[in-house]
């Protein structure tokens, strides 16, 4: 870093030129002081030494006991200078104990000159308003691109110029990869080359910007920034569902949602007036942080971390502020106080979600995304209808309990009790939530015989009906004895041949038959239990079986009871069971604890029983994580819908709710549901946390923004997320536009105009081209925050289009390419490398969006790290099309990201990341040579080549164009032919190896091709996918 800094200063102010040059505080002096002095003499009052601050003119010139650090124009009297040059260890600054090195001669010279010139302070550049910069005069003709005029001006002062344009093929592949993350096909290259009319390149850019692939590629950068992932990230690291937010991001780029609206919808889409569903989905932004429900974790701590994570990420991504530095003390380098940091955090204190994730997929608030308006209104109607109905059930239950308080008293020890599963109607089942499968109809009224309630089930003919448990219920695990029963009324005029009862289970069970034992066929008769003759006609008889006799022993599970008859007319009523439990407190139907325990175990390993998300969430919380209100709510839920002793008595009220509930759950498990933001009525109190400790709350603070930035407008009594989002994108905000255009520049050019894209503070680097940055920022604002327009502006410049060749001379003058006298040459990102291979292999699928897919992954990536009870412990790979989707749709587990991504510098998505590293390691070489995703792509690539009817040279040239966009040189053609010959010889003699080679991967190789030839070409393709030129955007 020091090395870079030194070079940087060297370039900005060549020392020889110092004598005449004006020294600027921001450009020359602040970096030196920030690095060496501000830790003890900066903004942080808590750690300030000798009351002296040097970050402000007033502090530096203040008279402290007759001493002034800086007396403008007077080196003799400037204590700062005297201390810097002091030969005495106890005087010299920075002091040796600080482990800072003494200032270098060049740095001293700058400070000396600056004091001599009057020591003029400036505010930090990025906090100043974006300057309205005129575009420099065109040195290269009136039509010269504005970006090139800025770049060219700085280059000219170094006697450099923008390089010649890259070849059309190279340029086309470059822009194709940069805008869509995919390489062009030779056919697309041909079309581009054939367009000889002016503006061909611009038209190509427009086509690429209009491609849906653009949003997939640009969206992915944003997903890095906001740390989108498919797991919680802490402890169990279970699945979380927020992929509709990911799709919203991709879509937002594709439809070119303006960046101001993009900002507002993510931070506060839920707070817009009558928000559309997509705006609510966008507010999932606030839910992307790491979360936990680790047993033992402390709520205040979790809550504080979530808030800090939100504030830090938002500050860094939108404003390039290293806000977190101020969590324990005032920021040492930037003018952000600790109080302001917590005020910033307070903006997020109104969010309605609990600090816990419950280890579940969906923790509220969530949004269910309907397929159409009709469905949406149905969902809304259910939501509206169910609440009052639930209240009715609760009121009735309370009434029953008040009348008979003993009913709730469940004591430890064995107990025999009766539970009713159907009285006036049966339940929609988890597997069949929208309708009731099976025959029959519940009827009431005159002439209908009933045992209890007001209706009975009428079945006629040879038919059956399962009476199963319902959403919110648990599968019944046999602990003691279970005796299911049903009441039957065979019609005296039209009696059935036989009737039967049968437990519904994944185990083998025996059916119990009354009447003609052969009535259900010989196969059934062979295994059935014959219980006796048909019950008496014209009246109700209670038929009872035992689970044990049916073949279900202890710890076996069943989910319901199937009623069947052969012919005739039968009335059925009051279906249930007599259960003998060894310990009532371990029985889910009697004890809420036991119920939650059972479900929690299930919930961790993917709930077998679908539950509404809010019920599921509360069950996922441990008892200590539930608050009082939640405890009461979940206890009441159990009492109203599960608790067996009240079940029969609540029947009429419960029935209606259950039908709607089943429908609600049905929508939640069949439609996309996603984490979103919601706002609580009163925000949680926000306090300064002393030393950043969750258990040391200090003074209360109100939501607000730092004083060094423009004032925020409140729409109500307090600053809301919506106010904050609007403030971020107000045209006078000095940071948002600069930080954003810098990030686009970074995406396109590989490094930013500010090379610390997440730190625009005093510790960050200065912009290499401050005027260009400001011009781009103001253009961006003036153009209505139009992202595609900005991207188009950048990629149509000559700066972008120039050749990337680095001559030794250029390497000498500008090794890090800060001045852009050559185009950047960059190793492709992890996703692009995988997607490119799939595309070349003809395997890539174009479907967009949807739940994350699980492509190939080596064995034992998740297992060695995962918690035993985690539902992401075992990686279950998908098959077929899911293997070949674009990488942006791959499942992202934060505590163990896919090696195909992590190997190539993809972040873990635990923290925000606005710039990935670009390492170059042997592990990458191994992956590109051997990863099945790469090798299968090579096989697919070879197949495509062989299926082209052409000669070897044609095929090789075509193949080379596929990966580099250009034709091979004479030498390269020779090398390709020789390589092919080598592999041909080898596989010609090793047919067995050849057939193994082409069998890599799950897609089937074409059977029409000669195996040895196919294998030889596969190796050629494997070579081509590994070329330096292929893995690089040139």
């Amino acid at each position: 870093m020091n090395f870079r800094r030194l070079l940087f200063i060297g370039f900005l102010a060549p020392i020889g030129a110092l004598a005449e040059e004006k020294i600027f505080f921001n450009e020359h002096i602040r970096p030196i002081l920030a690095d060496n002095c501000f830790a003890c003499h900066g903004a942080d009052a808590g750690h300030r030494k000798a009351d002296r601050r040097l970050d402000l003119a007033e502090g530096a010139t203040m008279d402290l006991k007759g001493v002034r650090a800086i007396v403008p124009g007077d080196l003799e009297k400037s204590e700062l200078w005297q201390r810097i040059i002091s030969p005495h260890e106890d005087e010299v600054m920075p002091p040796p104990a600080s482990h800072k090195l003494p200032l270098k001669a060049a740095q001293r010279a700058l400070i000396k000159k600056w004091i001599e010139q009057g020591a003029v302070y400036q505010r930090h550049w990025s906090y100043e308003p974006v300057a309205q910069v005129p575009v420099p005069a065109a040195a290269g003709g009136a039509r010269e691109h504005p970006v090139d005029r800025f770049i060219g001006a700085r280059l000219a002062s170094r006697k450099l110029a923008i390089a010649k344009a890259a070849s059309p093929e190279t340029l086309f592949r470059r822009v194709h990869l940069d805008l869509t993350g995919l390489p062009p096909t030779p056919e697309e290259i041909d079309a581009f080359l054939a367009d000889r009319k002016p503006g061909a390149y611009e038209r190509a850019v427009d086509r690429l910007l209009a491609s849906p692939r653009y949003g997939e590629h640009f969206g992915r950068y944003w997903l890095d920034a906001v740390r989108y992932a498919d797991t919680h990230g802490l402890h169990l690291d279970n699945v979380r569902q927020i992929w509709p937010y990911r799709d919203w991001v991709v879509n937002a780029f594709n439809r070119n949602l303006s960046y101001d609206q993009f900002t507002i919808e993510q931070l506060a889409g839920d707070m817009l007036p009558q928000p559309r569903i997509d705006q609510v989905v966008a507010s999932g932004y606030n839910r992307n942080h790491l979360s936990t429900s680790e047993g033992g974790a402390i709520e205040a701590e979790a809550e504080m971390r979530n808030t800090a994570d939100r504030a830090d990420t938002t500050a860094a991504v939108w404003m390039g502020l290293t806000a977190n530095c101020a969590s324990c003390h005032d920021h040492k380098f930037d003018p952000l106080t600790q109080r302001e940091y917590y005020s910033l955090g307070a903006i997020f204190k109104g969010l309605a979600d609990r600090p816990w994730d419950g280890n579940v997929r969906l923790s509220g608030p969530v949004a269910v995304i309907a397929e159409n308006p009709v469905q949406q209104s149905r969902i809304d109607a259910i939501t509206a209808a169910i609440k009052p109905l639930e209240a009715v059930v609760a009121a009735r239950a309370s009434q029953l309990v008040d009348a008979d308080p003993q009913v709730m008293k469940v004591a430890k020890g064995p107990l025999t009790y009766e539970v009713i599963w159907a009285e006036d109607g049966d339940m929609r089942t988890p597997g069949n939530l929208l309708g009731i499968e099976g025959a029959g109809e519940w009827r009431g009224g005159a002439g209908v015989p009933v045992v209890g309630g007001v209706r009975a089930l009428r079945m006629e003919g040879a038919t059956a009906r399962p009476i199963a448990f319902t959403a919110g219920d648990v599968n019944l695990v046999i602990k003691g004895e279970v005796k299911p029963f049903a009441h039957v009324y065979p019609d005296p005029v039209n009696p059935p041949r036989a009737i039967s009862l049968e437990l519904i289970s994944e185990e083998n069970v025996r059916r119990v038959i009354w009447g003609d034992r052969e009535a259900f066929g010989p196969a059934v008769a062979a295994s059935a239990i014959f219980a006796g003759p048909l019950p008496e006609l014209g009246r109700y008889t209670r038929l009872q079986i035992t689970a044990c006799e049916s073949g279900l022993t202890e710890n076996k599970t069943f989910t319901g009871l199937r009623l069947a008859q052969s012919g005739g007319l039968v009335w059925w009523d009051r279906v249930g069971a007599v259960i003998t439990t060894p310990n009532a407190l371990d029985d889910p139907l009697l004890s809420q604890d036991a119920w939650a325990r059972t479900l929690r175990t299930g919930a961790r390993a993917f709930a077998a029983v679908p539950l509404r998300h809010d019920v599921n969430f509360l069950i996922g919380l441990s008892g200590t994580q539930q608050n009082a209100e939640e405890k009461t709510w979940i206890a009441a839920w159990h009492r109203d819908y599960i608790f067996a002793p009240l079940r029969a008595r609540l029947e009429p009220e419960v029935l209606a709710v259950r039908q709607l509930l089943a429908e609600q759950v049905h929508y939640e498990i069949t439609l996309p549901v996603t984490l979103v933001s919601g706002e609580r009525a009163e925000p949680l109190p926000a306090r300064i946390m002393i030393r950043g400790q969750y258990d040391q709350p200090g003074e209360l603070v109100t939501a607000g923004t730092p004083a060094f930035l423009p004032p925020i407008e409140k729409s109500g009594p307090r600053v809301t997320r919506l106010d904050f989002a609007r403030w971020l994108v107000s045209p006078v905000h000095p940071l948002t536009a600069r930080v954003t255009v810098n990030r686009f520049w970074l995406q396109i050019f590989g490094s930013g105009l500010v090379r610390t894209p997440a730190d625009f503070g005093t510790q960050g680097e200065l912009p290499t081209h401050p005027e260009l940055l400001d011009w781009l920022a103001s253009e961006f604002i003036r153009g209505g925050w139009d992202v595609k327009k900005m991207v188009r502006l950048l990629v149509t410049s000559q700066t972008y289009r120039q050749d990337s060749r680095a001559t030794p001379a250029l390497l000498e003058i500008d090794p890090a390419n800060k001045w852009w006298a050559r185009g950047p040459r960059l190793r492709l990102d992890a996703e692009v490398l995988r997607d490119q291979a799939l595309a070349l292999g003809g395997l890539l699928r174009s479907e967009m969006g949807g739940p994350p897919v699980r492509p190939y992954q080596p064995v034992n990536i998740w297992e060695p790290v995962a918690f035993g009870g985690s539902n992401t412990k075992t990686y279950t790979q998908d098959h077929d099309a899911a293997l070949y989707r674009r990488s942006v749709y791959s499942f992202w587990k934060r505590t163990a990201p896919a090696p195909a991504m992590a190997n190539f510098d993809a972040p873990s998505r635990e923290n925000f990341c606005v710039a990935r590293g670009r390492s170059n390691t042997p592990l990458q070489a191994l992956a590109l040579m051997n990863d099945v995703q790469q090798f299968e792509s090579a096989r697919g690539f070879a197949e495509r080549l062989l299926l082209r009817t052409s000669s070897d040279p044609d095929r090789l040239a075509y193949a080379f164009r596929c990966v580099t966009a250009r034709l091979p040189t004479f030498k390269e053609s020779g090398l390709l032919a020789a390589t092919l010959a080598t592999h041909r010889t080898h596989f010609g003699k090793n047919a067995e190896a050849a057939s193994l080679v082409i069998a890599n991967g799950e897609s089937k190789p074409s059977a029409a091709l000669p195996v040895s030839e196919f294998a030889a070409w596969t190796m050629v393709a494997n070579l081509l996918l590994n070329l330096d030129e292929t893995v690089t955007r040139n």
Binding site: T895, S919, P922
Partner: protein, 491 residues
């Protein structure tokens, strides 16, 4: 200095052979660009160290050159292993005095308990070695080596739950995202081995009977440091190094032929674009090829003598066992790998502690013994540091029901026991004391930052000067507050 040369040297030193790499050699590299030789990148560059140190490292002569970090994940009970509290036997089932607890936070797993009954260890302790250090009967083999190790009974941490505590132990911060200790060392010291990664991680199997907490790749991640300093996980199942094996049907000769062509193409690419990264890439492919033989050789124990294998116990023959990982660690240390980290899971005994802790100790005791003894016999312990540490300790009071034969213990960050042995460490030292309940440190407290500063010191690094700038901060493994080197355990 000529900036170009400086830049290229910089590349040579810091990027050229970046990552887990291998030196060139044995393979014809006659395609290296003459133009780049002219520019200062010649054969010298190719002969350079694969994992060079930062300039000025080590800060002073190091006692230890390498480190093996044995992490017992989950939080081993100090009360049942190293922190002998005979007085507790009389206090069985008594309430933990408020004067001891002092109202400190406890996890929400036990904060709802009405009582905090004292659970003395049911295991017998005895004194061992010349130093007379107390060790419980659970670790009979480790106990034989107390004269070689410093046992610190007064380590404390800030975090009370696994996830943040593990993150803190390994990165010096509870917040995910900082560099792990192994990455720091790889970054600062590099490694003298040109054939293997500088920082290797092993995650051995553990008993299926115990409940295991999760590990996180962030425990060996490079955080803001260049990603080439990520720990490389050597795996017991599948390829030992990811993607090491050629696809089926591709033999070494075929791969060599493909690489020969690739080298020539990349040479042309280098001529065409003049990009130093291309030269790096050429080297990395050659290193990858060499790893395809050096790694299988590393994991092949067939040359180990029966006497050596015996040191590690019968389980050493079980691939992926803790014992096998220990032997693998020795083989890597022998080859000068800088950091080996073994993360053994299953030490989270909230309940059924007597039974489950015994399983854990049986799983690891012999392996630890074998490793230290083997290192010692080969003279490697003199300059290899070995650390044994969990992320926190466990409570003196029982979580759940307490009986004479059974109890559980909750997380306890306020004190736990760690041992350190080898280069730079004084053997036979027992450092620090806790109160009668092993609840609070009463003498010579050691924070994790102190521990890390001490480890760095043994490795020749001044922790206060070991920084990396990221997000506007000088990141430091040993934290913001000044950390103290534990001089009492230094040789």
């Amino acid at each position: 200095m000529n900036p170009c040369h400086e830049y290229l040297n910089h590349l040579t030193r810091r990027q050229f052979f970046s990552g887990a790499g291998l030196a060139l050699g044995g393979v014809g590299l006659n395609w290296i660009a003459p133009s780049l030789r002219g520019a200062g990148l010649g054969q010298d560059a190719l002969n350079a160290r694969v994992h060079p140190p930062q300039a000025g490292f080590p800060h002073f002569p190091a006692k230890a050159k390498r480190i093996i970090y044995l992490h017992m994940n989950g939080g081993p009970s100090q009360l049942d292993t190293f922190d002998y509290k005979p007085g507790l036997q009389e206090r069985f089932d008594q309430d933990l005095p408020a004067s001891i607890r002092q109202g400190q936070r406890i996890t929400t797993m036990t904060s709802g308990q009405t009582r905090f009954p004292v659970a003395p260890s049911i295991f017998k302790f005895a004194q061992h070695g010349q130093s007379g250090a107390w060790v419980s009967e659970l670790l009979p083999q480790t106990a034989k080596l107390v004269d070689d190790m410093a046992i610190i009974r007064s380590v404390s941490t800030n975090a009370i739950n696994h996830d943040p505590a593990c993150t803190f132990l390994m990165t010096g911060s509870e917040i995910p995202g900082r560099a792990s200790i192994g990455s720091w060392l790889s970054y600062g010291l590099g490694s003298e081995n040109n054939d293997l990664p500088s920082f290797v991680v092993l995650t051995p199997k553990f008993s299926p009977k115990v409940a295991a907490q999760a590990l996180f790749t962030r425990m060996w991640s490079s955080g803001p440091l260049p990603t080439k300093h990520n720990g490389v996980a050597l795996r017991a199942q599948g390829d030992p190094v990811l993607f090491l094996e050629n696809p089926q049907g591709v033999d070494a000769g075929t791969r060599r032929a493909m690489l020969d062509s690739l080298g020539k193409f990349n040479q042309l690419s280098l001529d065409r674009y003049g990009d130093p990264e291309t030269l790096t890439r050429i080297a990395q492919y050659e290193m990858a090829f060499r790893m395809q033989t050096s790694v299988p050789e590393l994991t092949d124990f067939s040359n180990e003598s029966p006497a050596t294998l015996d040191l590690y116990g019968a389980k050493v023959k079980e691939s992926g066992s803790f014992a096998a990982s220990c032997l693998l660690a020795r083989r890597m240390i022998e080859r000068n790998v800088r950091v080996v980290q073994i993360l053994h899971r299953g030490w989270d005994q909230h309940g059924t502690l007597p039974e489950h802790l015994k399983i854990q100790c049986m799983d690891t005791d012999q392996g630890c013994f074998g490793l230290l003894t083997d290192l010692k016999q080969r003279g490697l312990l003199d300059d290899t540091l070995v650390v044994w540490a969990g992320e926190f300790g466990r409570t003196v009071y029982s979580q759940g029901a307490l009986t004479r034969t059974n109890y559980g213990r909750d997380h306890h960050p306020r004190c736990f026991s760690v041992w350190v042995a080898g280069g730079g460490i004084k053997g036979g030292v027992v450092h620090g004391e806790t109160d009668d309940y092993s609840y609070n440190v009463v003498k010579d407290g050691v924070s994790l930052h102190d521990l890390n500063a001490t480890l760095l010191h043994c490795l020749g690094i001044d922790h206060s000067r070991f920084t990396f700038k990221s997000q506007g901060l000088d990141m430091r493994l040993s934290g913001v507050e000044p950390a103290q080197i534990v001089k009492a355990i230094l040789a």
